[in-house]
Symmetry: C2
Subunit: 266 residues, 2 copies
């Protein structure tokens, strides 16, 4: 579901055998996008006319790489049709009513929703210590041009063009960050969901005119000790708004889903 940059790279990973599965059906709101994706593949999937049809066939899993709206509209019916689901637009789950409905549907239909680690790491460990966490902070550093257009600047006096050194642009909760900086939503959402929630997770956003990378630093403390994770992401060539790692972690999640074998990591 979704034949954009991420959907295409996942489809290519299936087509090349890196993910040992079969892509049977695709959907996009744009028919051109679906056709363009299918034209790149050796093994041609069927283009369906309606996203709800994806889970009506005897598939194992539906992969959402479309939008938060697609999650809100289609996720529940996928579970109801007894298919697993992988969600890329994880921001949709920050709405607690959606999270609760989907979580209950998973239990009721004995199905699983998979959320890849995205552009961050260490979720394995934060998840393990979630009961013992006292604080979780995320610092995201980007070039000012990558922050342009965020809702935050509609009311802020900060002029991104005039920034010449590393400058803190925003400090607040993940909940605020997600509404002010929607482009940052996936990382903040994943961290909130796995840790202490979006009202207790603290986010700092830094503009750095001297970097060409997106850097995320997570610091988590609690009765287990302390951990910090720092990831400098090179933006993806085909879609500079997405980190290469976000796509790679989606491919790895599906590869693992499709494989028997030795599964490393919590």
């Amino acid at each position: 579901m979704g034949c954009g940059a991420i959907g295409t790279q996942i489809a290519l990973a299936i087509d090349s055998g890196k993910i040992p599965g079969t892509l049977t059906h695709v959907y996009d709101t744009s028919k051109d996008a679906s056709s363009s994706l299918v034209s790149k593949l050796k093994n041609k999937p069927i283009i369906v006319e309606n996203p709800h049809l994806l889970s009506s066939y005897p598939v194992d899993i539906v992969v959402e790489a479309a939008s938060q709206e697609a999650v809100r509209n289609v996720a529940h019916s996928v579970l109801q049709n007894k298919r697993d689901l992988m969600i890329m637009s994880v921001g949709a789950l920050l709405d607690e009513s959606i999270y609760d409905i989907l979580s209950e549907a998973c239990e009721h239909f004995h199905k699983t929703i998979y959320l890849p680690s995205g552009a961050i790491g260490g979720l394995d460990t934060i998840k393990s210590v979630s009961d013992l966490l006292e604080s979780v902070t995320l610092t995201t550093t980007k070039h000012p041009k990558s922050l342009k257009g965020a809702k935050f600047f509609e009311t802020s006096k900060i002029d991104l063009e005039k920034i010449t050194t590393q400058t803190i642009i925003f400090e607040g909760t993940a909940k605020e960050a997600v509404s002010q900086f929607p482009a940052n939503i996936n990382v903040a959402a994943l961290l909130s969901l796995v840790g202490v929630g979006s009202e207790k997770t603290m986010v700092k956003i830094v503009a750095d005119p001297n970097t060409d990378k997106n850097t995320h630093t997570i610091v988590a403390q609690g009765k287990f000790g302390k951990m910090s994770f720092n990831i400098e992401n090179i933006p993806d060539e085909t879609n500079p708004k997405t980190s290469k790692l976000a796509i790679l972690s989606a491919i790895e999640t599906l590869r693992k889903y499709c494989s028997s074998g030795i599964s490393i990591g919590t």
Copy 2:
């Protein structure tokens, strides 16, 4: 399989409902250890006389928390009996012939071996970028007394008692580190298996008389960018040789195995 400190804490997590499963059978080479574990539980599992019996019952998964030897002796027959397996003594898998045999058995019998993240984090991410990795290094810092008794000191001239500041004790491959510092084996083994193998993973061991924690720092570089993970572990109260996190990650792995729901992280 194994009723020591780790096995006991996993059993207690099942008994308390934190892991939504049922513990049906236990085994330990020491009958006293099995009896002592069972005495701590509300829901009493059956004590079996032989580790091979564990997988002869209609269970879903066998949990090894015993020894590398137990992995070598029992793992294959667990898969043959069509049960999944969680392995704590991951060092056993550094023997390539064992890894290959078990990996093939997983595929053949459509079963999975789970390796929890242990005392480190970020395996989710390192796994995702494994094709793009150029270097992986692990630096482990411990109090000198935690290093005592390692094979390394049989031939080294370093006197741990005389160390007064942070001192590098060892630098070499994970393969060498594992044979010289067996107490460090799980972390080095997991990192090698998930990344570039034990001959390319570099390990540094540092003695620090001013710390009461076990700190692991992983730095991985490649075409995706760069990542570093730093974890300061508080040793477990009941077994100071084990990090609290190693037990928590085992509990989280089993909790996820026993649950339908939203599964966060690659």
